[in-house]
Every structure is written in structure tokens, then in C-alpha cells.
């Protein structure tokens, strides 16, 4: 620890970033395997089990396959934006990890690359940018199904983004700060999932829409739009979209943990178990929940999602916010 404090800041940030990138990409690979396994079990199948023991080398085989596939660009595509779009998605997906704190073994010793005061705003800004990758990628493909996919992604974004932000403001009011570490500290006594149950549920639902996963995977909608926005993408560029989707899923799980489940705060006061373990356990719970949801629910209809977002989620989130504000003003 002492060595870290004496090293130049740029070196510390560089090493931390490289390490985190490695961890996040490995987590992505095994989250994908876990998803395939868990969904298979729920559908009475064994899941991937041919590559390596228990299918553990499947991600490596998939990665190799992606790398050796041809990278096609349709003749009608806008070449620059078409090639750029996956990187927009990927960069905004990874960007969030610059400020997500994972643990705090001793006060002031925060496990994160950077600690931004406006942490939660920074993350919402980045994840909102990720939608540009999808919209632009679909539009620049110059083909009808990707275009429909990207139109849907825009429509979907305006219906959930507002409710999502509203659901989080309740937490910000209770914590009195937008810093992620500050929010976790504020949950020392009680996790915000209890006073902010409505906000938590709304966040969970909108997070599914945010990551474009079933039942809100209208953007991909395999049954209707071939593969939606990434129909024309192949090889590594498709892989980048794929990584971005799973990293986003990981991000929203981390945010849900930090905002509602008390981050690295232990359950039942079990301080023997390190905070990082608690954090990872909570994140895994959310990851499992999203996989579980995908294996259970059929896809929403496009207009139903919009109606649900505007007519149910937004009013509920607003009411929750107003009540929280009144309570905080009079008691807090």
C-alpha cells in the first residue's frame, strides 16, 4: 500500500486500469458462460460442456472464433460510422469502471481508479452515450432491419431513461451526495433498498431496458428483426457489441449494488468477510437475476414498453421522489 502512495499518479491509474480491464473482460467471458449454463438448466439442457471441463474453456473458443471471422461492411453502409459504432458502445460501457468503487478496507482507502464527486451523474452520462453506439450502428448499416432496431433503441431510451434517473434521485436525497463512495457510506446503518423499495424496483426494471436484455431486447428482437441493430456486423465488431452488452449488464449490477444494496457493507454485521467479497456477491446476485429474468419472460411489445415507461414507471418514480423529498425535508 505504501508503494502505491509513493508512485506517480499516472502510473497508479495506468496499472489500476489495466488490471480492472482484465478483470472486467474475464468477468464478461464467464458471465456469458454462466448465462448459457443457467439458461440451459432452466430449459432442462446441460449447456456448453464440450470445451474444457464443464465447458470452462468455451469463452476462449468463442473469442478465437470471433477473431477469425471475416469483418464485413455492407456496400450501402456509411463506412466511418459503421466502423466506429461498436467502439462508442464499448468505450462508454468500460468508462463507468473509471469511478466505480469496489471496496474500502480501511477508511479513506477506496478501491477505485478515480473518485468523482458527481459519480452517479458521470455514470448516467456514459451509459446514455452507449445508446449512440447502437443507434448509429443500426443506422449506418444501410439495411432495413438494423434501421428498425436503432429506431426502437431511441424510442426505448426516451421511455426508460427518465424513470431511471427519477428512481435514483430518491437515493441521492437520502444520501445527500452524488459520490458513489458517499452513497455507500450513507447506507452504513440501513440499505437504501428498504426505504427506497419502489425506487429499487423501478431501477431494476429500467436497468433491463438500459442493457437491452430480455424482456426489453426490442433492439435485437431475434424473432422479428433478424438480429436488430447488429444484423450486418460480423467478426470482432460484432464481438465488441457483445462485450458492451455484457459489460453494461455488469455495470448496472454494480450500480444497483452501490445505490440500493449497500455496496461493500456487510450483511448481518459480518465484518470478518472482506467488503470486496460482499460487493461481488451482491453483483453476482443481480447478474443471476438478469439471466433468470431472460429465461423467464417473453419479449415486450414495442408500444407496450413505451406505454409502461411513460404511464407506469415515470409516475411511480415521480411519486416516490416527491414522498422521499417530503420525508427528508421534515425528518432528515
Amino acid at each position: 500500500m505504501a508503494a502505491i502512495h509513493s508512485a506517480p499518479l499516472w502510473l497508479v491509474v495506468l496499472v489500476k486500469s489495466a488490471l480492472l480491464l482484465l478483470v472486467v473482460i474475464t468477468t464478461f467471458a464467464y458471465a456469458m458462460l454462466a448465462e448459457r449454463k443457467v439458461m440451459a438448466w432452466m430449459q432442462l439442457r446441460p449447456g456448453p460442456n464440450r470445451v474444457g471441463p464443464w465447458g470452462l474453456l468455451q469463452p476462449a473458443a468463442d473469442a478465437l472464433k470471433m477473431m477469425f471471422k471475416e469483418d464485413l461492411t455492407p456496400k450501402t453502409a456509411d463506412p466511418l460510422i459503421y466502423k466506429l459504432a461498436p467502439f462508442i458502445s464499448l468505450i462508454s460501457a468500460f468508462g463507468a469502471y473509471a469511478i466505480i468503487p469496489f471496496s474500502e478496507p480501511s477508511p479513506g482507502d477506496l478501491w477505485s481508479i478515480g473518485n468523482v464527486n458527481a459519480g452517479i451523474l458521470f455514470i448516467f452520462a456514459l451509459t446514455a452515450l452507449g445508446v449512440y453506439g447502437i443507434s448509429l450502428g443500426g443506422w449506418a448499416s444501410g439495411s432495413k432491419y438494423p434501421l428498425l432496431g436503432s429506431v426502437r433503441s431511441t424510442a426505448q431510451m426516451i421511455s426508460y431513461e427518465l424513470a431511471m434517473s427519477m428512481s435514483v434521485i430518491g437515493v441521492l436525497l437520502l444520501a445527500g451526495t452524488t459520490s458513489l463512495a458517499g452513497i455507500v457510506h450513507a447506507q452504513h446503518r440501513i440499505w437504501f433498498v428498504i426505504p427506497q423499495l419502489i425506487g429499487f424496483v423501478i431501477y431494476l426494471i429500467t436497468a433491463v431496458a438500459e442493457t437491452n436484455r430480455a424482456p426489453f431486447d426490442l433492439v435485437e428482437a431475434d424473432a422479428e428483426l433478424v438480429a436488430g441493430f447488429h444484423t450486418e456486423y460480423s467478426g470482432l465488431r460484432f464481438g465488441l457489441f457483445f462485450i458492451a452488452e455484457y459489460v453494461n449488464m455488469l455495470t448496472v449490477s454494480c450500480i444497483a449494488t452501490l445505490l440500493f444494496l449497500g455496496g461493500w457493507n456487510p450483511l448481518f454485521g459480518l465484518t470478518v468477510v472482506p467488503g470486496i467479497v460482499w460487493f461481488l456477491l451482491k453483483v453476482s446476485f443481480f447478474l443471476f437475476f438478469y439471466i433468470w429474468l431472460r429465461a423467464t419472460l417473453p419479449r415486450f411489445r414495442y408500444d407496450r414498453l413505451m406505454a409502461f415507461g411513460w404511464k407506469v414507471l415515470l409516475p411511480a418514480a415521480t411519486a416516490n421522489l416527491v414522498v422521499t423529498a417530503i420525508v427528508v425535508a421534515y425528518i432528515g
Binding site: 443457467v38 438448466w41 432452466m42 432442462l44 439442457r45 433468470w292 429474468l293 423467464t296
Partner: protein, 201 residues
């Protein structure tokens, strides 16, 4: 209010769905992981054909072509030839010089098995006969006939019309000399009775 009630009902349905998928994670999967685990077929499963022998290694097939006539898919080709004292292949007058089954035409109905007067052709439970060329599916005697070192071959199954399955097992203990001394129904019946009482041998 009614709408509120309905949406609460929907939440219940949602939870029920989640409980269902969660429960199915712990249900035993019916998957048979094929190359490493093989399915146990029914005893009368119709698979690849086999040409059987008598206990003294003579071929059972007498080249009568009844199987080829019975075959609804025209998958069987038999070309018979005369046995000579120097080269006696089967106990009868004739034997199958060529015996070919096109397994791609075959519908595995088992009519050849039923038509055969000497129980020479039998459908075994073997089913793994994938090939890379169409020609590879025309099975000739080199692949159909049981090698002399491997006994008499698979016993035919119990038939629905009452012909007992013991026929094949009788052949394992009796040689072709029994056939020459008169292999008729009454005689066979005696053999079977003896065998059931444990007297045969």
C-alpha cells in the same frame, strides 16, 4: 381500481413464472450425452443388418432371394451361386455369392427378417452407420456377414405372429448337421421344449 387490481395480478403471474424457471434448474435433465453415453434401445430395435452363421461357421443364407422380394424399398440385392463339394458355404444347395443392402434405401421395417426361411438376415440394435459417401452405405457381405471368429450372430427377436425367438438360440447349440437331418417345425419344437427344460445340448 380495477386496473390496479389487474396489474397486481400480473405481478403474481410474474413471480409464478420466475418460480417455475428457478425450480426447473433443479429438475433432472433428460439429456443423453451421446458419444460418451449411449441410449439403451428397446430389445427389438431395428438397426443395421447382420448375416448369421451356424455354429459350425457355415453361412445360414441359402441365396433364395426371398428377402429381396419381400423388401418394400428394393434395398436388397442377392445373387446366388451353387455350393460345390469342394467349396461348401451353406448347408443348402445354394449360397449368396453376393448379398448387398443399400442402407440408405432401407426403411428398417424388418420384412427381410420375417421372410427369411433360415433366419439368416437379422436386424441388430446397432445404429451407428454414418458415412461420408453415398457408396459407403451399400453394405456387402464383407460388412454384413458375422466373422467366423465371432460366433453365430444376433438372435432374431420374438415375432408378433408367434414364431418363437428361441430359434436363434437353438442355432447356437446345434450345428448344420441338425438341419440336414431334418430341420422341420416338429423337430424344432422338440428342441425348444428340451431347451426350456434344460435338457438340450
Amino acid at each position: 381500481m380495477a386496473r390496479m387490481h389487474k396489474s397486481l395480478y400480473n405481478v403474481g403471474a410474474l413471480l409464478k413464472g420466475l418460480a417455475t424457471t428457478f425450480g426447473f434448474m433443479f429438475v433432472r435433465r433428460p439429456t443423453i450425452e451421446y458419444p460418451s453415453v449411449k441410449k439403451q434401445h428397446a430389445p427389438r430395435f431395428h438397426g443395421l443388418h447382420e448375416l448369421r452363421r451356424y455354429a459350425d461357421a457355415k453361412e445360414r443364407c441359402i441365396g433364395c432371394e426371398l428377402c429381396a422380394v419381400a423388401c418394400p424399398a428394393n434395398a436388397i440385392t442377392v445373387i446366388g451361386a451353387e455350393n460345390t463339394p469342394q467349396d461348401r458355404r451353406s448347408p443348402g444347395e445354394r449360397y449368396a455369392a453376393r448379398y448387398e443392402i443399400d442402407e440408405l434405401r432401407c426403411i428398417f421395417c424388418g420384412m427381410c427378417e420375417e421372410a427369411c426361411p433360415t433366419d439368416a438376415i437379422v436386424l441388430t440394435p446397432r445404429f451407428e452407420m454414418a458415412g461420408l459417401r453415398r457408396g459407403a452405405f451399400v453394405y456387402a457381405k464383407d460388412r454384413l456377414l458375422v466373422p467366423p471368429t465371432e460366433g453365430v450372430g444376433t438372435a432374431p427377436d420374438e415375432r408378433p405372429n408367434g414364431i418363437p425367438s428361441d430359434l436363434g438360440r437353438v442355432a447356437e447349440i446345434k450345428s448344420t448337421t441338425d438341419v440336414q437331418t431334418g430341420y422341420d417345425a416338429t423337430n424344432r419344437g422338440t428342441i425348444l421344449k428340451k431347451q426350456r427344460k434344460g435338457l438340450a445340448g
